[in-house]
């Protein structure tokens, strides 16, 4: 845009550089959907993801015919990749809700340019998460037996089981995330409707916008409802991942049966979620030229929050291991020793490298502002967090109480296909999202512009003068 008196790199987090107007913001963000020609990288990505998603469908189809025996799971390791993947995906989802809900509640304005894409990420990750426990059921077509409904078998779900809590938690989380996302999207859908040129896009956006007009009282109710849903989404995030951890912690297997699991899982979830948002934002910012809206200061803040949560996670690793030895329980002690030195120890040490050692680079400001470093680090964290869930799931199971019942797990090609296929499907949804819906909350940014520049905000070209008049240096 216009030349800015303050370089973008030195802006406070959430501030919009001078030179932007309400109109140029609207145009910039709707342009990505309406007018931008799809370039080769996007098409290549889409084609690749489509191909891999087809592979995912094939893997799921094969699973439906043959059952989970096609995976590497066998007693005693009855939980394998599917459960690990599930926890990985749902954990990632939580980070998005944290950014949009918790940062809203604590008035962090820098969430405004990242919350939309974070929520979309949440939604898609939660969808992927929801698939895996169902695929793991053995007879996935009976998954609705988890729901309480009047049935001929005259049976009810077992309410004392964490697996049933999980079903409710995931379902509620998915629906609440969807509503929260849609509520935030509503005014922007109206902007899309008003700027659409083709008849079909006009009609589709008009239907989606529900006739939003931006009346003052409507805004008031909208903001109240949005804040309230955010207020409920915040404890929901904590509850969902706590319930996920109870799937493990209520079992009596050494390594599962631990009271630290709920907070430990929530920390891990936020950590991987922030990493995922970074993985997503850094390329998006570059490909769609959003450098002035997603500023280095925002990325820096993201990295700081991620690093803080990282330390909670590191504390959890230490506390878990310490408690296992301190408990004096021989099985717990053996499990911990086996984790450090046993069959899966190499994998465990990769996890420690990814989640504990590699992240220490975030102490330095240059690393938090270097997008290449952050992007690579975010991928390393994804790997580390996936391994963490793999270790939590598989390693305790393969060495439980009776040595005669010990076993080992090794993944089959179907395990890998399902994992990578789900990643491809997730990226496919994201690629479609950025081209079909406004990827940044336009009305929030207009509000930001108003807060920053007051009544001069609407008029392009006048703010730089206004701004330097406010700060006579």
């Amino acid at each position: 845009m216009a030349d800015s008196p303050t370089p973008v790199a030195e802006l406070r987090a959430g501030d919009i550089p001078a030179g932007w107007s309400y109109r140029s913001l609207t145009e910039k963000i709707t342009y990505i959907v309406f007018y931008r020609r799809s370039r080769l990288p996007w098409f290549t990505g889409l084609a690749l993801c489509l191909l891999l998603s087809l592979m995912f469908c094939a893997a799921v189809g094969y699973l439906l015919f043959n059952g989970p025996g096609i995976w590497g799971i066998a007693i005693p390791v009855a939980w394998g990749y599917a459960i690990g993947n599930y926890v990985w995906w749902i954990g990632m989802a939580q980070g998005g809700t944290f950014i949009s809900a918790v940062l809203l509640l604590v008035s962090q304005t820098w969430r405004r340019s990242i919350n939309r894409s974070a929520e979309a990420m949440t939604l898609f990750a939660a969808v992927m998460a929801g698939l895996f426990p169902i695929l793991h059921l053995g007879r996935p077509w009976f998954f609705y037996w988890l729901a309480p409904y009047p049935n001929k078998m005259e049976l009810w779900p077992q309410w004392r089981s964490p697996l049933v809590w999980d079903f409710f938690a995931i379902a509620a989380y998915l629906l609440v995330s969807l509503m929260f996302w849609y509520a935030g999207l509503l005014p922007d859908l109206a902007s899309m409707r008003d700027r659409a040129r083709g008849r079909l896009t006009q009609v589709l956006f008009a239907l989606a916008a529900l006739g939003w007009r931006g009346e003052a009282r409507h805004w008031k109710r909208h903001q109240t409802a949005y804040l309230l849903v955010a207020g409920m989404a915040a404890p929901l995030v904590v509850s969902v991942h706590s319930v996920v951890s109870l799937d493990y912690a209520i079992g009596n297997t050494p390594g599962f049966h631990s009271t630290i699991f709920p907070p430990y899982f929530v920390a891990g979830a936020l950590f991987s979620g922030f990493a995922m948002v970074l993985t997503l934002l850094i390329p998006m910012r570059r490909f769609f030229h959003l450098e002035e809206l997603i500023t280095p200061a925002i990325i820096d803040n993201m990295a700081k929050v991620m690093f803080a949560v990282n330390w909670v996670l590191i504390y959890s690793y230490v506390a878990e291991t310490f408690t296992n030895f301190y408990s004096g329980d021989p099985y717990e002690r053996y499990m911990s020793l086996d984790r450090l030195t046993g069959l899966y120890a190499p994998v465990y040490w990769i996890q420690i490298f990814c989640n504990v050692i590699a992240t220490q680079v975030l102490w330095w400001r240059w690393a938090r502002r270097n997008l290449t470093v952050l992007f690579i680090l975010s991928l390393v964290i994804q790997l580390g967090m996936w391994i963490e869930r793999f270790i939590i799931t598989v390693q305790p199971l393969h060495r439980d109480f009776l040595p005669s019942a010990w076993g080992a797990f090794s993944p089959t090609r179907w395990d890998w296909l399902t994992l990578f296929g789900s990643c491809a499907f997730f990226v496919l949804l994201l690629l479609l999202f950025v081209r079909l819906l406004p990827a940044i909350s336009i009305h929030d940014l207009r509000g930001q512009l108003h807060e920053q520049y007051g009544s001069s905000a609407g008029k392009p070209g006048q703010q730089s003068g206004q701004r330097s008049a406010e700060q006579p240096t």
């Binding site: 007009r213 409802a225 309230l228």
Partner: protein, 182 residues
Amino acid sequence: MNSHPEPVRLYGLLAEFDSADALLQAVYRAREAGFHRLEAYSPFSIEGLDEALGGTREYVPLITLGGGVLGALIGYFLQWYSATINYPINVGGRPLDSWPAFLPVTFEIAVLGAAFAALLGMLALNGLPRLMHPLFELEEFRRASSDRFFLCICSRDQRFDPQATRGFLDSLGALAVLEVPE
């Protein structure tokens, strides 16, 4: 605007502004001048604009609370009824109404109910969805979702008079005053 041979029935007169503060000032002035049927449109939520318009009773929080309480009751009742009345089964000697184990599901359904109530309550109170509205007939109104701020004095207002009100809106410094046909 087309000029019609006979006067069109108006929904109201729409004044266009280019900043939030100008709209806010215009709303204050219109209220002072005794207008009550006012609508203000903006591309983002403006602090204090609804109070300037006379304020609204806040029903959304109450509705949300209602949805949450209803969700919690339904959630708990579902578990209590199925576990103690409809299909009592002794699991390891635990009480049939094992309430601590029923809380996670109760909580999730409560949050779900509250979120549904918040969103649907907000939409219902706003009279949405409403796909047809007189304002949508105006090409200029499209900018209400981008960079323009509008004040509408509705023809239902007792003080409304097509000529005098137009003059009043002009005196507020509006960029343009538009007729909104009903």
